[in-house]
Symmetry: C3
Subunit: 264 residues, 3 copies
């Protein structure tokens, strides 16, 4: 597949010329490339945030899109740069594990970028997004074959979000993402937690109510619900749970289920 | 009309995967869609801000554009989702009134989204922007007829900005928007206020000077002028009026006009 | 050359309708225009930031792109608006010098926008980006000739970043930009400073180590290195130098070179 659709996801922020430079490099090679900004405000050098973002966003795209993801605290070291096909998604990223949460049952195809003929003639030590990933993306969008970027590799970094643990009465998990509304997204699957007969705590605060949608409780109520991606989410209706509770990523979440409701 | 031009306006912020998910859904249905970001930093769940933004921005677009506006504190409740044609503008939004300031003399055409065949197969309770509005926008951009989205309705929520009142000597209004430069945009039409012989106050501060352009007064001066959309605006030349005065949306604005200047 | 590629760079921020209005104006004139956002978060009315951004970003774009750059503290005064061809880059901007760092050996071609037939019918005193620059950009993207925008002028504002000075033992420079990671970009060319035998100070702090890439030192180390554009950069590995040192733009940078290493 080749296609002009290239998405860009970085932690560069919006006031710096780095995003613009990548766009310029791509459009200089393929003026027909269609650039889609996903986010340039991932938390700086925060691979956990990037991995969460990638898992929640990329599966919605069509397979012909090519995703360039640059969160790169290791730039300039010996870490590799990768081309990956995983679960119907194609992406380019430093070898930092940001894509590994996408892996399902089928093994990914991973290539180590090695063909410097596709790169910018001069490669800096501090900006491989501009000097390697952007031109390789542009070449792929023009029809370069995946094989041309470099050889298949069987080694890559993996990154895992914290996983919940089973307890005698339920689960122990944690907050893995806070969104723009202050909603706390946890690593617990909402479908596992019965709607009746479960008590939910975040840090040492009880969450008094489980709802299906924010609007089922009055404004200001602390509620638990299923997030748009199926996770247990803790929210304040029309408010900001993170601010109100003073909590963020890493806050512990305890779920206790009445014995009769425990899955067997 | 159908056209690949789809604009996106949300309060999702830029660090979350929600905007990206909507883009992916649209491009999966219509890979030729041309996505234009208007803003993803509307104030969270602030319908007044959204309505102001919509009124100031959308009329500049060509009629073939389709605008998707997602500020949705009522997601998951019984509030409807709407397709609207109003004053040459076509848009999709929750039924929260954000578009009603666009209504002029001609009555709008409003449809309630009801054809679930155009939606994502599974609809969450917390993200109708992704599960309903995005796929409907994509289908319309592919040529689906407006009639196909759902039946015409004669009921919708309306939203009003505060309106100014006449006083014995002039008007009493308020600040309805603060821009990125700290300029205070009011709800008073600048053309109504004579350039000479009017005194202007914001909160309890006199605004000593009326100018046509910022540059007519020296840096640091507090001035009143006509905003780029015709509103009375209060600004500090090359400075930030909101910070300097410690004022924001809702601050009262009083205008007193010399008797000889009062409109009859 | 005419081409649908138009980039937008402003200091408008993302929550205001001003960027959207410019996009609407362009697409109303040329619905096929391809809009590329470079940044809308330049520091408000900060021409130095804008000039740095322009110099670092625009040279990466292909020559057919047309760049619209709106940082315009003088809007509404007699300052001109310009069309510029400089070093293979085409741009539209107020006459405020933001493009002059792009000038190389070849003289730029500069035109003063004067043909109001290309503008919006009504031009406000506070938003020439929307009323003049956007429609002129759209007309050029449709094939209007550069000659049609207005006459060639030999006068324009120039803007200079502070230049370093030679001292008895090396150079005295300063920080000219702080990026999203807190890296301090200076006005000293890294290639001029020998890797061994040079001592580097920022404000009164010694920078103990010179590296090629962030990853060559352990996390938390204060290092100097060559930025992705060739400047001497001061960084904290996987950290934020600006926050850690409490320094920003304008901080002094001293370089002392051992006599044997001084260029002759």
């Amino acid at each position: 597949v080749f296609d002009p659709l290239i998405t860009l996801t970085t932690d560069f922020g919006d006031g710096t010329p780095y995003v613009a430079a990548m766009k310029g490099v791509i459009l200089s090679i393929n003026p027909e490339a269609r650039l889609i900004d996903l986010s340039h405000r991932l938390l700086p050098q925060d691979l956990t945030h990037a991995a969460f973002f990638v898992r929640e966003a990329l599966p919605f795209f069509p397979p012909q899109a090519l995703h360039v993801i640059v969160v790169d605290p290791g730039v300039g070291t010996e870490r590799a740069l990768l081309y990956v096909e995983v679960g119907g998604t194609r992406l380019l990223a430093p070898d930092n594990g940001v894509w590994t949460l996408l892996a399902g049952d089928e093994p990914p195809v991973v290539r180590r970028l090695a063909n410097a003929g596709l790169w910018r003639p001069t490669v800096s030590h501090t900006f491989h997004g501009r000097d390697i990933l952007a031109p390789v993306a542009a070449q792929l969008s023009l029809g370069a074959k995946a094989e041309s970027v470099g050889p298949i590799t069987a080694r890559w970094e993996s990154l895992h979000l914290p996983t919940p643990t089973r307890t005698a009465s339920g689960w122990h998990g944690e907050v893995v993402f806070v969104d723009n509304f202050g909603n706390l997204i946890t690593n617990l699957r909402a479908a596992d937690i019965p709607v009746h007969g479960a008590t939910i705590q975040v840090a040492d605060r009880a969450v008094p109510r489980r709802v299906r949608a924010y609007g089922e409780a009055a404004a200001g109520n602390l509620v638990a619900l299923e997030s748009s991606s199926g996770w247990l989410e803790i929210a304040v209706v029309n408010g900001n749970a993170a601010e109100r509770l003073g909590l963020g990523r890493g806050a512990t979440v305890g779920v206790a289920v009445e014995e009769s409701q425990l899955p067997t």
